[in-house]
Symmetry: C2
């Protein structure tokens, strides 16, 4: 560690030297002089040189202290440029009160903002291209049978009917029953705790326990509620790292992590590649390698972020692997973030094990463990924007409570959810029915694809088929993959996510969300894919 | 500007020199040598010195390149300390798979997190102390007539009945009417645009126009909806400034700005004091002074943030002052943020003028102007968490759309509000009735206080009386003010906000929120204040 730090210091300083023009200039003067004196140093030179030398030395030290080089450009210089080029409208000050001083150009935006905008300006990402195609031409069985099928957006429509039925029966009494809602209208519309109503925390803790099939209980006071799991991850990032720090994340990974972790908190994400030959399982050796590489670059790793069940692959961490990860994190003294938003959406034969269960067994320091949860996936309610931070670290909780002011859940939604999640009969039936429907639809798509000669990774949870189309690529490369993605979108009119968007290092994998399909859609989908394969 | 930049560069560099131990060491060797050579430079010395000199020079350059000084401590060192001291529980690794490597101590949290926590650990702020007192012993006319009156929380209870009546009639059909809500249940619970439904943006634009009494119309596509005005301000901060930049804000100001601007975006807030002798109006001279002081410190000002109607004072910017501010911002090339969350809660004789009206008149570059709005104040719905960024800057809008993913409003709440805000009869009656009730309650409190010999600043908008109790202070100082605040809380059981919390530089001012009072509460309040005054 000290060695690495030292190496980093060297690296940084040599870079600084290289970049400082005043130091370079001084060297240009002194080095030839050194030659003259050391090589042919006679009496005359011996007397003159010290004076000349000190003249230059003083010059050098002076310049070194007051370099004539310009100060480094401000962080937002790129945004200034962006602004100058885009919106420099001549200004007419139509009013005498407004002084006639030369307008100084549009006020610049921050470099954070321009980074986000420049990504947009640099052309839409494949997911945005696909999304736009779908918005303009959405598939509908009867009304638009030739439209684009949306298999990219991670929504579960399979059990929306259950939610609708519950709402139809319970909406009004959940929100306007003055006996239930404390203080009448005040309890519905006035300020409440930014990190969530205690009633809802209790209900969420109960639901999480139900999702884990009762194997573990959750403490409501370790819960922070946020407007969606994205803000839960962002808040955790703000709590665990500072700008320039990094989180490791096994890849392929959910592309939203790039936004949630990097955009505003300034933390780097370091992908740790998993391979098809390892069934996309994480290996401690790969983690170790990535950790050491970062360390050698002088980058401080603060956490390991992983999804379990994994998005996009759909695999589930074994108990043994969780122990290994705990061991690794303890040794490196880093945090562990387990994104378990699909915990209740398992549909395979392997049993899902939550980190919370493992922690219940072993008596080790839990303060490095944080769970991300939410109701978007397991309860089909992404529009409700309810995310959960469940942390064992009191400092993280203390800070997250404060940061929750920027991501509060609307109180009417919270009241509605207190009601819904407290209805244990509904939630247990929902979880069971939903798992069954997930299994059925997943199997139906995977078996259908198999018949076409297309293999899927055997997933155990989540909304995706992780489809291997590598053998159908014209060239085994990212280019080949993009070509295939393009064909799927434009020929077959299927919007899926290419593996490269998930930072998968092997080309030819695609994430296909099966939970937006109906039974009738499946043959349509398979027929469309058949056409693409045959055209290859 | 160039001059200041230069001065800054000098300052930074001389500081760097001072702090670099390797450079100091080199100077200690070279300076005495210089004396020897220049003073008594003989033949022998003339021959030996160049060699010695270059030895030291090389040593100096070498050290300068590879300084032996330690690299600067990581940003989170304070958090490490905090952690070590607070939660270093001995770890028992109960399972053989977990290696027996020495535990490295709890993983540190970020310095951002520890900053927020340390503020908490440093003792509760007066607002938290007061809030806790109220929570534990809330005043109620019948049930707890000796309890604490909450006049610190900025809520309007005066018109909650109107909201309740509307909800009772319209809740169910707003949310579950399949004809109204596109796509049935899907339109209520699935993913929607993170920056708000276009339907709601249209409704909000209409409401804002109504609030401005039709004097101006708003473009829905310039609207970003966020979970509360706090996140609107935070998102704007992320868009306009980078860490180390600063916003100026006339003081006294709403204490929430400190959290919204500084906590996560790392932007500094520079208060620009307004004085009672100027009726707490902003002066351009004071802005100019603060701007130049910041510039001399090398701090880049990115924006001027102000509330209009002002929180806490309740004054309203004149049209002339708005022109002056536009002029100032144009000259300095900075952004202008107008927080107009109380635009519809005016109750005085002076006419409120929105920046949007002024911009409609003058044809100047609007890209530096951003408006903050929300439904918490003007529609008595703080629990709904709906904030608005209304910007004239397309780059800010493009970035804010992206950042809105962390602060989305729940879709059921959005659907409810589409319905409520589209009900023009309701909104116009609400605005009118609410203004009338605000005026009545404000007058009732101010007149009552006047009779006790307590003066208030003449407010024109907002929920507050800005009360001058300076003549009752034992000592004219912050200490005297805190003493009075303590007396109000503990003797009179009134929780108000002391001016110092709002960065008011004159002691003895208090922000008293009158909108949580009922008619029957007013005499109780006045009697309690009378007791405090008489005890002094």
């Amino acid at each position: 560690m000290t060695h690495t730090q030292h190496k980093k210091t060297i690296k940084e300083n040599s870079r600084n030297d290289d970049e400082d023009p005043s130091q370079i200039a001084a060297m240009r003067i002194i080095v030839p002089l050194q030659e003259v004196v050391q090589g042919r140093g006679g009496l005359v030179l011996g007397s003159i040189v010290p004076c000349a030398l000190f003249y230059f030395l003083q010059l050098y030290l002076k310049r070194n202290r007051h370099p004539s080089s310009p100060s480094p450009p401000p962080a937002s210089s790129s945004s200034d440029k962006l602004h100058e080029s885009s919106t420099s409208i001549p200004r007419t000050l139509s009013r005498s009160l407004l002084s006639q001083k030369t307008p100084s150009g549009p006020a610049p935006v921050s470099s954070r903002a321009s980074n986000v905008i420049s990504k947009v300006a640099g052309g839409d990402s494949v997911s945005i291209v696909g999304y736009k195609r779908w918005v303009n031409d959405p598939y509908h069985e009867c009304q638009n049978p030739d439209g684009v099928m949306q298999l990219c957006l991670a929504e579960n429509h399979l059990s929306l009917d259950l939610v609708r039925d519950w709402l139809a029966q319970n909406l009004e009494k959940s929100l306007l029953d003055e006996e239930k809602v404390d203080l009448g209208i005040g309890g519905l519309v006035t300020y409440q705790r930014f990190d969530g109503l205690m009633d809802l925390k209790i209900a969420v803790a109960g639901f999480m326990s139900q999702v884990m099939k009762g194997s573990v209980s959750f403490n409501p006071s370790q819960i922070i509620l946020t407007s969606g799991a994205s803000s839960a991850i962002e808040i955790l990032s703000f709590c665990l790292g500072d700008p320039g720090n990094a989180f490791m994340v096994p890849s392929p990974y959910y592309p939203g992590y790039d936004k949630n972790v990097k955009w505003r908190s300034g933390i780097e994400l370091i992908p740790v590649p998993c391979r098809s030959t390892d069934k996309f399982n994480i290996s401690i050796a790969a983690l170790e390698r990535a950790y050491n590489q970062a360390k050698n670059r002088g980058v401080k790793i603060r956490a390991l972020l992983l999804s379990n069940p994994s998005n996009p692959v759909g695999n589930i961490l074994t108990r043994e692997m969780i122990y290994d990860l705990l061991d690794f994190a303890t040794e490196k003294n880093i945090h562990l973030i387990f994104d378990e938003v699909f915990a209740g959406s398992t549909h395979g034969h392997k049993e899902f094990v939550s980190i919370s269960e493992v922690l219940d067994e072993v008596g080790l320091d839990r303060s490095r463990v944080h769970i991300i949860y939410g109701l978007s996936k397991d309860l089909c309610l992404p529009g409700f924007r309810v995310g959960v931070i469940y942390s064992f670290n009191e400092n993280v909780l203390a800070a997250a409570v404060k940061f929750a002011r920027f991501s509060s859940v609307s109180v009417p939604t919270q009241r509605l959810l207190v009601s819904m999640l407290s209805d244990k009969k509904f939630t247990s039936e929902f979880l069971e029915t939903n798992r069954m429907r997930l299994r059925k639809m997943y199997t139906s798509v995977v078996v259908g694809l198999k018949k076409l000669g297309v293999d899927c990774y055997e997933s155990n949870g989540g909304f995706y088929c992780w489809v291997d189309m590598s053998k159908f690529l014209r060239s085994y490369s990212e280019k080949g993959e993009t070509e295939m993605w393009d064909k799927l979108l434009n020929l077959a009119k299927i919007n899926v996510m290419p593996g490269s968007s998930c930072h998968c290092i092997e080309p030819g994998w695609f994430r296909l969300c099966f939970t937006t399909l109906t039974d009738k859609d499946v043959p349509v989908l398979l027929e469309r894919i058949r056409r693409v394969i045959e055209s290859h």
